[in-house]
Amino acid sequence: MELIALYGLNLVYTIAVLALVVLGLAVVFGLLGVMNMAHGEFIMLGAYSALIIQQAGLPYILALPMAVLVCGTVGFLVEYAVIRHLYRRPFDTLLATWGLAILIRKAVEGAFGRDYKSIEQRLPGTVSVLGVDYPAYRLALLVVIVALFAGLLIWYRRSNTGARIKAMVQNPALASAVGIDTAFLSRATFIFGVSVAGLAGVLLAPLVRVEPYMGLDYLLSSFFILVVGGLGSLEGLLVGSTVIGGTDVVVSAISDKTAGYLSILIISILFLWLRPNGLYAKR
């Protein structure tokens, strides 16, 4: 019983973290069509923002605005210099952002070194839930992620900006004809996407290894989720995270991690083959 509760909590946590990690990419790739291969690097920049705050001895909460500042600035420069010339040319964005990813990794390696950094956990210890001792920080993270997604879902459905983004995604020419500043809106959406990736980096940093190459871990799983879930909607993102995360947790529990990883690969390939638009495609 206790074991089932533990696996259940792990399942919910894994899905939530995957959804958090993929959110930034879902915005940039799903809405703008930019295959952002540097997605993981923005998560890494978020983690290093947390490191800067920790080294400066400032309260950890300041890592959140710091990550938005760092990723927002880098995102703005990148959008202005590179991305805006490449909208609707997905394969070109893939190459450009792959180069960008290498550049960001090397820059961070130059500034902070290649070695592992440890971000201290501000909420140590475990809390007993359903008879299981579960890490307190993970539970807090779960609450934050659920609140974030609920807020985002409501905002995107109800706000004027959300409506303008939808209009831009569906028909850019018509959207700009009715007076929507699509250039500005695209830039803002890109910056929002990479900043969300940075925030994910801050939130995950106390739990994971922090080093210049950490971003690669997040890139693949993010694309798998979008392949399964489909592009352009939050619902698709959540469905994709559930399928990928759920498969991994369940198969790993029954068999081992190798089988878990293998099953994710097989599912992703099957989706690309048989259902290339994913489960919940809006585009």
């Binding site: 070194g113 290649r114 201290e120 140590p124 878990g260």
Partner: protein, 388 residues
């Protein structure tokens, strides 16, 4: 043209001076320098250990040159990146050997590269392999400095089992030959110590979520975990392990948890974490302290952290010097004949070559925050039978 003539004449005279001077016991300071290929990872997954390896090697080279050189010849280290695939490493080594006439090689890299290199060298040039590895290397002309699983575990498992009351071990590692061979050796020592293995798991390198392994460890009731995960995987696993509160009751022992990995694991996650190795930056002996001081003095206080892998290259240079002294030349077959029993003293203590491996001290350290405390030293541990 004139300059070349001048250089030629000068070298000729210098060589002559060297020959004439030798019988009188003077150092042949003008003899040809000797090129030594130092093969270390400067890129790729092990690139983290490149800088500390290079600085450690340079320190040993400087010391030997200051003391008169290798058999009276100044060492010219040629650092080559072997962080890539074995084929690239072979190409680089071949260029150095045949092109630049390197006369000896010292390598700190993975076993796949070692296999390719022993195949290339075929015992025709001395080659010293320095890092921790799975054991079993027995090629001609090859000398192995690194700790073998039997060295790291044979004395440590019974001692730690008795000290901490461990009876049920869970073995977890990355999925390749070093963890598998280490665990195969570990099982025998665990059984001999009266314990049992309650789980064994190998994770692909891509894994960054360890929840299912942690649940299995909890379920198994293990009171000891032997960790052969490497690098980032070890960091991620150990952080998650501690966050679940497992560190209070379960002892962790790693055979490749060095200073960088511990820094990544973090002070708050290192309770009850032990590491077994031939070197730690905090070994409390005069030789080790002197080495650490020199390293800091030369490379500054912000130098890359000293660790068992990087430091092993320093010992590699010392071993080459000791082998050359005993042989009287750098001729590979003469060295192979004279090698057995060669000994030298270094930061790790004194070491003796036996069956192409070295018998040496093994240290068991306990993590204390983000640094290691050596709590037990096992003297002169044999590397086991590697040529069987």
């Amino acid at each position: 043209m004139q300059r070349r003539e001048f250089v030629k004449t000068a070298i000729g005279l210098a060589a002559l001076a060297g020959i004439v001077a030798k019988p009188f016991g003077a150092t042949a300071f003008a003899a040809d320098p000797v090129k030594v290929g130092i093969l270390i990872p400067l890129s790729g997954p092990a690139g983290l250990f490149g800088p500390s390896s290079q600085m450690s090697a340079q320190l040993a080279v400087d010391e030997i040159n200051a003391a008169g050189g290798l058999l009276g010849r100044m060492i010219e280290p040629e650092f080559v990146d072997v962080g890539g695939p074995p084929a690239d490493a072979t190409q680089a080594a071949l260029k150095l050997w045949k092109g630049q006439k390197a006369e000896a090689f010292i390598g700190m890299h993975d076993s796949a590269v070692r296999g390719a290199l022993t195949n290339l060298f075929k015992g025709q040039v001395p080659y010293i392999y320095t890092p921790v590895y799975e054991g079993g290397e027995c090629s001609a002309g090859t000398y192995v400095l690194g700790e073998t699983p039997s060295q790291q575990l044979e004395p440590v498992i019974p001692w730690l089992s008795a000290e901490k009351g461990i009876t049920k071990w869970y073995l977890i590692g990355n999925d390749y030959n070093w963890p598998r061979d280490t665990n195969a050796a570990a099982k025998a020592y665990i059984e001999a110590a009266g314990g049992s293995v309650v789980g064994e798991e190998y994770l692909p390198f891509t894994v960054d979520n360890f929840d299912s392994s942690l649940a299995k460890i909890k379920e198994s009731g293990a009171d000891g975990v032997l960790i052969t995960l490497v690098g980032g995987a070890s960091v991620g696993f150990n952080r998650a392990f501690a966050s679940f509160g497992l560190a209070d009751d379960v002892v962790r022992l790693g055979t490749l948890i060095e200073e960088n990995t511990l820094a990544g694991i973090g002070a708050e996650n290192s309770k009850n974490l032990f590491s077994s190795a031939g070197y730690f930056a905090s070994i409390d002996t005069p030789a080790a302290k002197a080495f650490a001081d020199k390293y800091k003095a030369k490379n500054g206080a912000d130098a890359p952290a000293l660790n068992a892998l990087g430091q092993s290259v320093y010992d590699g240079v010392l071993l080459l010097d000791a082998l050359a002294k005993k042989t009287g030349s750098l001729d590979a077959s003469a060295m192979d004949a004279a090698a057995e029993g060669t000994s030298y003293d270094g930061p790790r203590g004194s070491a003796t070559l036996s069956g192409r491996h070295v018998s040496k001290d093994i240290f068991l350290a306990e993590a204390d925050g983000a640094s290691f405390n050596v709590i037990q030293t096992f003297s002169n541990v044999d590397a086991g039978n590697n040529c069987g």
